[in-house]
């Protein structure tokens, strides 16, 4: 029988990190799904890039995949902080329930829900009934001016556009690389991780990039406008790509 594991906890507690340690194992089929944010989420895309052997499952295909899981398979369901722990979907199947929680959190709905508790990052869990709002948008095809993106992320995570508890995104840069950027309020700095995927050096990248922000009082319109102000025009991108193509002629790069 397939092993079904549902993982929940507050934003930034370390759910994805906890799951990642098991996804390196290629001896049995592994599946990963992260419902609640539409067809493709930052986590789903990142897991797909990071663990090519793992089957990442878009939300719409979850029921189909569940109905046809191989016997030896393990499916990890990352159940976001904003989703209902009492959902009938969770009640229908024999999930092993894991809560990744901050060490200081002694009592919560997650404690009552989970079969086992894993101690995660020391983030501040939201008070009951005071969950942060989530804003997300795909950025596929957008390539960012690096210093503009840096300014934008400093301002966004510093509270210029509302109080941000969590930010994660995948951003394309003009040298063809893509970066995963992660910020958790209460943990030091922002983490930048280069994704192990080929440089995209011809035209606009036709692979997922996007941003997810959790927080309070988010000024979505200004965040979106600032993102667009930081993205390169066709002409600027072409100029950059011409430059980088000459610097990396022998590297494997995606061209369309």
């Amino acid at each position: 029988m397939p092993h079904l594991i549902a993982i929940s906890g507050p934003s930034g507690s370390g759910k994805t990190t906890w799951i990642s340690q098991f996804l390196k194992d290629q001896s049995t089929p592994q599946y990963y799904v992260c419902p609640g944010l539409g067809e493709i989420s930052v986590d789903l895309a990142r897991m797909g890039y990071r663990f090519p052997s793992v089957q990442v499952v878009p939300e719409a295909q979850l029921k189909t995949v569940l109905a046809d899981l191989p016997e030896q398979a393990t499916l990890y369901l990352e159940w976001g902080f904003h989703l209902d722990l009492g959902s009938p979907f969770l009640a229908e199947l024999p999930w092993e329930r894991v809560a990744v929680l901050p060490p200081d959190l002694a009592e919560s709905d997650w404690h009552g829900w989970a079969d086992r508790v894993i101690l995660g990052n020391a983030v501040v869990a939201p008070a009951n009934g005071c969950l942060p709002e989530i804003w997300c948008t795909p950025l596929t095809g957008q390539v960012f001016d690096p210093p503009s993106l840096d300014d934008l992320l400093i301002e966004l995570t510093g509270g210029a556009y509302g109080q941000v508890c969590r930010m994660k995104g995948i951003f394309e840069l003009p040298d063809g690389r893509a970066f995963y950027v992660d910020f958790v309020d209460g943990l030091p700095g922002r983490e930048y991780t280069e994704l192990a995927i080929p440089r995209w050096l011809s035209g606009r990248p036709d692979r997922f990039s996007g941003i997810e922000v959790a927080g309070y009082g988010l000024n979505r319109e200004v965040i979106a406008q600032t993102l667009m102000d930081s993205a390169l025009s066709d002409a600027a991108l072409a100029q950059y790509q011409q430059h980088y193509q000459s610097l990396h002629p022998s590297e494997e790069a995606i061209s369309v």
Partner: protein, 270 residues
């Protein structure tokens, strides 16, 4: 004689008032201003009127020049595409807000001011747009001071105050001409100083406080002054006047509205 030297007010009237009060308390005999009276901040006219009413000798900054000449600095003078867009918004707003007589006054400002062995510029003796950073190559820094034919060069533009001493610089020059033997010459330059006044209205040192410098011409003592003021009033005015609210957020953190270009030595070609 005690001189007070200030720069980069950027339409921040609250900060200017606080600095003028501090200068008064420090009993300075003469004030010099190194330009950038306007740009980004909400009170460009009031700042210029105050400077004029006090008859403060002032040289022209890059923003003062752009308001007079039109925005024709090349895009390389901005550190990022985002900063460039914001800079253009600030330029358009200031261009609309400014009174004709203020524009005329800005147009009349000189590039440099002199007082004995002292020279006052906004960026460098070469350009209002050139940054004299404290990390600038020593030879280049000495060249800038020698070009100004001064012993002490006062500048602004970087928005971070500093004092740099170029002690007894020796320049060695080898000249090889066709058909002649190599000649070797040495020039010795006496102590030269570069004094950056920081910024009154748009600090970039991580705190919102205004900065300026005091210089005693008798003792040559330099004092960097940091002056707290009610920056929240300026932040509120930025928003009330319809300037981008992000300017207020950055001002409150001493982050400057738009940081300097990555290539700090870049000089716009017009």
């Amino acid at each position: 004689m005690k001189l007070a030297v200030m720069s980069c007010i950027h339409g921040n009237y609250e900060a200017l008032n606080a600095v003028l009060s501090d200068i008064d308390a420090q009993k300075a005999d003469q004030i010099y201003c190194l330009g950038d009276l306007v740009g980004y901040g909400p009170y460009p006219n009031a700042v210029v009127e105050m400077i004029r009413s006090l008859d403060i000798p002032t040289c022209q900054g890059c923003w003062d020049e752009d308001i007079v000449e039109g925005l024709n600095a090349c895009d390389c003078s901005y550190p990022s595409q985002l900063a460039e867009k914001r800079g253009h918004l600030a330029h358009e707003w200031t261009n609309q807000a400014i009174h004709p007589e203020v524009r005329e006054y800005l147009a009349s400002l000189p590039m440099t001011l002199r007082e004995g062995n002292l020279c006052f510029v906004h960026g460098s003796p070469n350009s209002q747009h050139e940054y004299l950073l404290p990390t600038m190559d020593g030879f280049a820094a000495l060249e800038r001071v020698l070009a100004a034919e001064a012993d002490v060069l006062f500048c602004g533009h970087t928005h971070i105050p500093y004092l740099r001493e170029l002690e007894n610089g020796t320049l060695s020059v080898k000249v090889q001409q066709p058909g002649q033997s190599e000649t070797h010459r040495e020039f010795t330059a006496p102590l030269k100083r570069i004094i950056n006044a920081g910024s009154v209205g748009e600090p970039r040192h991580g705190r919102p406080n205004a900065t300026y410098v005091l210089y005693d011409t008798d003792s040559t003592q330099v004092t960097l002054r940091e002056v707290p003021y009610d920056y929240e009033k300026t932040c509120a005015a930025i928003i009330e006047q319809g300037l981008p609210p992000i300017f207020a957020w950055r001002l409150a953190r001493g982050m400057e509205f738009a940081e300097r270009a990555e290539d700090a030595g870049h000089v716009c070609e017009r």
